[in-house]
Symmetry: C2
Subunit: 400 residues, 2 copies
C-alpha cells in the first residue's frame, strides 16, 4: 500500500505518535549513574538517617536539667569528661554534672539530651562554665530525624536531581531500577547521500540528516543508534529497518527528498507494519510519514535537512519526551517582526528567524538550503488557523 | 596562615572566583562529538556547498527561454532526453528544445537554467508540454548558494547546536578544535565520612557531598574527577590536593563540618597556594573557602550537604560557567509565600521552598539535614540588603 492518506494537522500527528509511544521498560543502574534518571518505584530508606544522635554545632553535650537557670552571672559548672572524636562510634556517656566536647557532626554521648554551643561556654581547667540554659533536644538531630526507616526518599517517577543523588548515597542505595533510556535508530536513505568523510562527486551530497537526528536524540536525553546510509532499494531499506527494530525503541528514517524515494520508504514501512500518517499540514515538512512496525514507531522524515529538523522539533520531540519521561524545556521570547510572514490557512508554518535586540527577521530561502539553520536563533510558529503575521506584529520566538 | 579574612558578600566571592577562573584551553575532537562544543576559531567552508547546481523540486530541467509565453492554452513542447538519476555525477546536457527529468536534489544538466515543477507539465510520448513559463534560476540552487568557499559556517565561540552538526557534516568538517571541557576534582574530607558502599557504624556517615558535587559538575557540563575521601590529616589532604592539581582545572573540597576540620582545610590550601576568601555572607554556607593553588581555583565547601549544595549554586556555578563557556540556564517562577522568611541584613539567605499551585512554603530545618533538599522544588534568594519577606509576599522562586 502506498496510497496517500489525507494530510493531517500537526496536533493529530503528535497524537498519533503519542498513542504508539512504547514504554522502554526498566533497567538497573548503579548509584553513580543515577543523575537525571527516573526510578520506577518509590525509593525507601532501609534504615534511619543519620542513624545516630548527631550534634549540629561545635560545643558541649550536656544534660539539659543541669543548665536550668544558667546565665552569664551564674553559669552552670560542669565537669568535662573528654572530647568525642569525629567518626568515633564510642562517644561514652555522661551523668548529671558532666559534659563532653562534641564537634559538629559528632555523635552524642549516652545520657546527653542537648548541646551548648561553644560560644556560650568558658573553660576553667577541666570545668566548663555554661552561660545559657539548654533545652532538651537542642542542637542535635535524632537518629531518624532526617529519614526514618521505611520513609520514601525519592518517589517513583521523579527525575533525580543533583542534590538528590546525595540522599541516595546517604541511604546506601547502590543500585536502583529506573526507566530505560530509549534507543532511537537513525537511517538515512538516498542514492545521492554519502558519508561525511567522503568527498562528494558532483550530484552527491554528504549525509546531513543522520548527525542532526543523532544530535537531536541526544538533546532529548535518548540514545541514538546510527544505522548508516541505505540506497534507494526496497530490499536494502527493508533489511535496515528489520535490523533497527531489533536494536531500538523507535526509528527515524530521513527519506530521500524526491517523491520516488519518499514513496519507497512509505511502501517498505507499510509492508513491514502499518502507516498511520502520510503527510502533515506543516511547512516545511509536509511529506512526513508516521508508521509503526511491531511496537516500534517509525518516522519518515523529509530529505531536506531544514525540513527534517523542523519536523523533529514539532513531532519527534513530543514522542521522545513521552518515551523518556523527560520534558524537553522550550525557551521562548517575544519579538517584533521586521517583515511579514504569509501563511496558508490550515497549515502550521515554522519560520526560522534571526533575532537581534527584540526584532525578529524571518529567514526565507529556497528549500533544501542549510544556512537558515545556522543563521537563525529560533523560529516562529504560525498556527494552522492563522494566515500569518504582518510586519510589526509581536510574536513568540521559540529559541533553539 | 589560617587567619580568618573578613566575611565577604556573595557578589565579591563570585568576582574573586571569576578573576581566577582558568582557561581550560583547546582540544581536538571528531565530528560525532561536536554537539554543544564551542569552536575556538571560525569554522570555514573549504569548498562550495552544495557544490553543484541542484534541483529543489521534482520536474523538468529546461532552458528558460524555451518557455517564454507558455500557458495552459499554448504549452511549450520540449523533447525529453531522459532522466537524471539521484547521485549521478553525469547529468548530461540539453540544448534548445530539450528538457530532462530531474528529481528533487538531482544535479542540473549542463545548459539548463531552470526547473519546471512536474505539476505544470504534461507528458505526450517523449514530448513534455510545459504549461507555465520558467524564469532563469528558478527551482534550483547554485553550487555556492548555501555556503561559498571561505564563508564562515560556525563562528568562533558559538556553542554548536544539533542542527549545526549537520552543517559541519555537509562541509566535511571531520575534526575541529574546541574549548576543552573543564575537569573538576572532588575531594571529601572528614574522619566520620565513609564511602556509600560501606555500612556506617554509629558516629559515621556516608559521603554525600562527593556525589552531589559530581552531579552538579555534570549538570554544568563539566567533567567530575572523583578523588575519594581523605581523613582529617594535613598530610593526607596535602597529598590529595597536589594530585588533584595535576589532573584537574579546579578543585572542590567538601570540608568536615566541624571548625577544626575547616581550619585544617584552610591551612593546607594556604600552604600550597593562597586564600582569597574565608567566609561568605551567605546562609547556609558561611564557612566557605576560596583559594588558588597554581592556576587552579580551590573551593572549600561546607560539610553540611545542604549548605555545600547552596554554595555550589551560588558561587561554583558561575565559576564552572566561566570555565566551560556554557551559560547554565536558570528557571524561575513567581510564588506567594505562605510563611515569612526572616533574614539578617548583610547576609544573602538561600531558603529552600516547597511549591504548589503558586504558593511557596519555606522549609526550615536543623542544619545538616538532607530532607529539605529532596522536599524542595527550588529556593528563594533573600538579598543581603533585605531583612526578609513577610507572609503573603510575592517572591521569585529559582527552580532546581
Amino acid at each position: 500500500m502506498s496510497r496517500f492518506i489525507r494530510v493531517v494537522p500537526v496536533r493529530d500527528a503528535v497524537s498519533s505518535l503519542l498513542s504508539i509511544a512504547p514504554d522502554p521498560g526498566m533497567e538497573s543502574i548503579v548509584l553513580s549513574e543515577a543523575l537525571f534518571r527516573i526510578p520506577h518505584a518509590d525509593i525507601i530508606a532501609s534504615h534511619d538517617i543519620p542513624g545516630f544522635a548527631r550534634s549540629i554545632v561545635d560545643g558541649y553535650a550536656v544534660i539539659s536539667t543541669d543548665t536550668i537557670g544558667a546565665g552569664e552571672s551564674l553559669p552552670a559548672m560542669l565537669t568535662c569528661t573528654g572530647r568525642i572524636e569525629m567518626g568515633s562510634s564510642d562517644p561514652g556517656s555522661i551523668v548529671a554534672g558532666e559534659c563532653r566536647y562534641v564537634p559538629t557532626g559528632g555523635m552524642m554521648p549516652v545520657g546527653a539530651d542537648a548541646v551548648v554551643m561553644i560560644e556560650y561556654t568558658e573553660t576553667a581547667g577541666d570545668q566548663i562554665l555554661v552561660n545559657r540554659p539548654a533545652s532538651s533536644g537542642e542542637n542535635y538531630v535524632a537518629p531518624d530525624e532526617d529519614f526514618a526507616t521505611g520513609e520514601v526518599i525519592i518517589p517513583s517517577g521523579h527525575r533525580i536531581l543533583p542534590q538528590e543523588t546525595g540522599v541516595l548515597a546517604a541511604a546506601g542505595i547502590l543500585s536502583l531500577s529506573v526507566r530505560r533510556i530509549p534507543r532511537v535508530a537513525v537511517i538515512a536513505t538516498g542514492n545521492e547521500i554519502i558519508a561525511p568523510q567522503c568527498d562528494p562527486l558532483p550530484g552527491q551530497v554528504r549525509d546531513v540528516n543522520s548527525i542532526v537526528c543523532e544530535s537531536f536524540i541526544l538533546q532529548c536525553g535518548c540514545i541514538p543508534v546510527p544505522c548508516g546510509i541505505v540506497p534507494d532499494e526496497p530490499d536494502a531499506l527493508t533489511a535496515a529497518i528489520q535490523q533497527a527494530v531489533l536494536t531500538s525503541d523507535a526509528i527515524f528514517i530521513s527519506g530521500g527528498s524526491s517523491k520516488d524515494e519518499r514513496d519507497a520508504t512509505a511502501r517498505v514501512i507499510a509492508e513491514l507494519g502499518r502507516i498511520l500518517v502520510h503527510g502533515i499540514a506543516i511547512s516545511p515538512g509536509k511529506p512526513t510519514i508516521i508508521g509503526q512496525i511491531g511496537n516500534c514507531p517509525v518516522i519518515g522524515l523529509p530529505g531536506h535537512p531544514s525540513s527534517a529538523f523542523m519536523v523533529m522539533r514539532a513531532i519527534c520531540g513530543p514522542l521522545l519526551s513521552a518515551m523518556s519521561g523527560i520534558a524537553i524545556p522550550e525557551h521562548a521570547c517575544s519579538a517584533t517582526l521586521d517583515a511579514g510572514i504569509p501563511s496558508a490557512k490550515g497549515r502550521e508554518d515554522y519560520v526560522r528567524v534571526h533575532l537581534r535586540d527584540g526584532v525578529a527577521s524571518p529567514l526565507f530561502s529556497k528549500s533544501g538550503l542549510l544556512h537558515t539553520l545556522v543563521q537563525s536563533d529560533g523560529y516562529v510558529r504560525v498556527p494552522a488557523e492563522s494566515e500569518g503575521f504582518e510586519t510589526g506584529a509581536v510574536v513568540e520566538v521559540i529559541l533553539w
